[in-house]
């Protein structure tokens, strides 16, 4: 029987949660790498036993771990992320030039077709690529070298490149997003990039409709329709139907359009999920109620999903990389909270139950659908 493997990164280690296709009874294994911040773990679509993990601490910096047996055992691989050439500067919080400095890997994106190829989105914002299973990393410096680079500025969490989407039909076509530069697209495998922020309006920057400088929190796509993109911006939920050339708002009836994650149903390209958060001042759900909102119309019309989620006294957050969907016949939806809960819905969001309740703060959730 098919099953799922949920990869959870937390502030103090990684956990692997497994279940069969019913997704009722779970086995929890971990913590792997106890005490380390695990920003992200992700499995290779080409080889589910191949998993990459980003491990870091303030003491010892960045380590990349790799598993070749589905997360049972791990080995460190390469951790040298050297910017290409003279790094140059971006803007610091006070507007002064600040040298690009590597801090950590936020997101790992394995290739759809080659288990040895993986992309890494890092802080300070840049994109790296490995073609030898993570042993060595080379910067795709065309992104950071975009003419707007000296004007990029960090968000509150650092100037991170947190979103990497590769078009499943054309690996040369990719989308990335950074806080707080915005979204960018390449059609030549990362050599050249263009900002794709037309239609975004951000009140917190001098020119609300600037070409770059937007605090994009997350972008999602359905693999069957890679030209359609959904975005959770700092404020506003947005949609593009032309591969990012233009965006329009789809916040509709959401109780608040601030939030971090956004994801798309595995089989319904017009079904989208977000987790509204009160505001950028209050990083917790409105009214103490943890609600996932689902749109079955590609946005604008949203319904709250509450069955099994706490509806009082809940003041957790859900971070940008902490939501995922599986691709079983009945799509499962998963998310983790800063309170250490990981919730699963085996029925596309209709009902929820916690897999675990008391992990360290959850930074990321990914799911692998296993044969």
């Amino acid at each position: 029987m098919s099953g799922v493997r949920v990869l959870v990164g937390t502030r103090k280690g990684a956990f692997v949660l497994t279940a069969d296709g019913k997704r009722k009874d779970w086995t929890v294994v971990g913590p792997h790498f106890p005490g380390w911040e695990m920003y992200h773990l992700k499995g290779s679509p080409a080889d589910p036993d191949r998993i990459y993990a980003s491990q870091s601490t303030g003491w010892h910096g960045q380590v990349i771990q790799r598993s070749d047996d589905g997360g049972k055992s791990w080995n460190p691989v390469g951790n040298e992320f050297a910017y290409d050439g003279v790094p140059g500067t971006h803007q610091w919080y006070d507007g002064t030039p600040h040298p690009w400095e590597f801090a950590r890997v936020w997101h790992l994106e394995p290739s759809h077709t080659d288990p040895d190829v993986v992309l890494a989105g890092v802080e300070d914002a840049a994109l790296f690529r490995s073609s030898d299973g993570g042993q060595s990393w080379q910067e795709l410096s065309g992104l950071r070298g975009h003419g707007s680079g000296p004007h990029w500025q960090p968000g509150a969490g650092g100037m991170c490149l947190h979103t990497i989407l590769v078009d499943p039909r054309d690996a040369e076509r990719m989308y990335v997003a950074s806080s707080a530069a915005g979204a960018f697209r390449t059609t030549d495998g990362g050599k050249t990039w263009q900002p794709i922020n037309k239609g975004l309006k951000s009140e917190g920057i001098p020119d609300p409709e600037a070409e770059v400088g937007h605090c994009v929190h997350r972008i999602a796509m359905h693999p069957d329709r890679p030209e359609v993109l959904f975005m959770q911006k700092h404020w506003d939920v947005m949609r593009s139907d032309d591969g990012g050339d233009s965006w329009h708002e789809i916040s509709g009836n959401l109780p608040t359009d601030f939030g971090f994650p956004i994801d798309v149903h595995a089989h319904e390209p017009e079904t989208v999920y977000v987790v509204p958060i009160t505001s950028d001042m209050h990083h917790f759900p409105p009214d103490g109620k943890l609600r996932v909102y689902r749109s079955r119309t590609g946005g604008n019309e949203w319904e709250p999903l509450t069955n099994g989620l706490p509806q009082q006294d809940c003041y957790v957050n859900v971070l940008r990389d902490a939501m995922a969907v599986d691709s079983l016949d009945e799509c499962g939806v998963y998310f983790g909270t800063t309170g250490g809960q990981v919730y699963a819905s085996p029925d596309a969001g209709d009902t929820w139950a916690p897999i675990v309740r008391d992990l360290p703060a959850v930074l990321s959730v990914e799911v692998q659908t296993l044969p």
Partner: protein, 100 residues
């Protein structure tokens, strides 16, 4: 050739998959830089976790102690204390107390 005892912090012992002290052999005179080079050669997964790649700058929250003395800010090519060289004392690589 000198054999130097090195105590790694817990996170790095786990990463290197060792328990207790490790020992490395270095040419005379034994220096901090030579010991770190040897540690990174024996345990390549530790490259970048004590100092920057290529023998670069010490990471901010890593300290080096020996014989009750903080060697962190000593020149890295200075000879190590006699008690470390003769094996009576280990070189301690320490994750600084931080974080509350």
């Amino acid at each position: 050739m000198t054999t130097v005892r090195v105590v790694l912090p817990g996170h790095l012992r786990t990463l290197a998959k060792v328990s207790g002290e490790v020992t490395v052999d270095v040419e005379d005179p034994a220096t901090l830089a030579a010991v770190l080079d040897a540690v990174e050669t024996s345990y390549p997964m530790l490259r970048g976790t004590i100092r920057a790649h290529g023998g670069g700058q010490r990471r901010d929250f890593v300290r080096f102690f020996a014989c009750n003395v903080d060697l962190t800010h000593e020149p890295s090519d200075a000879p190590l204390p006699d008690a470390v060289v003769n094996g009576a004392e280990p070189l301690l690589v320490v994750g600084a107390m931080a974080g509350g």
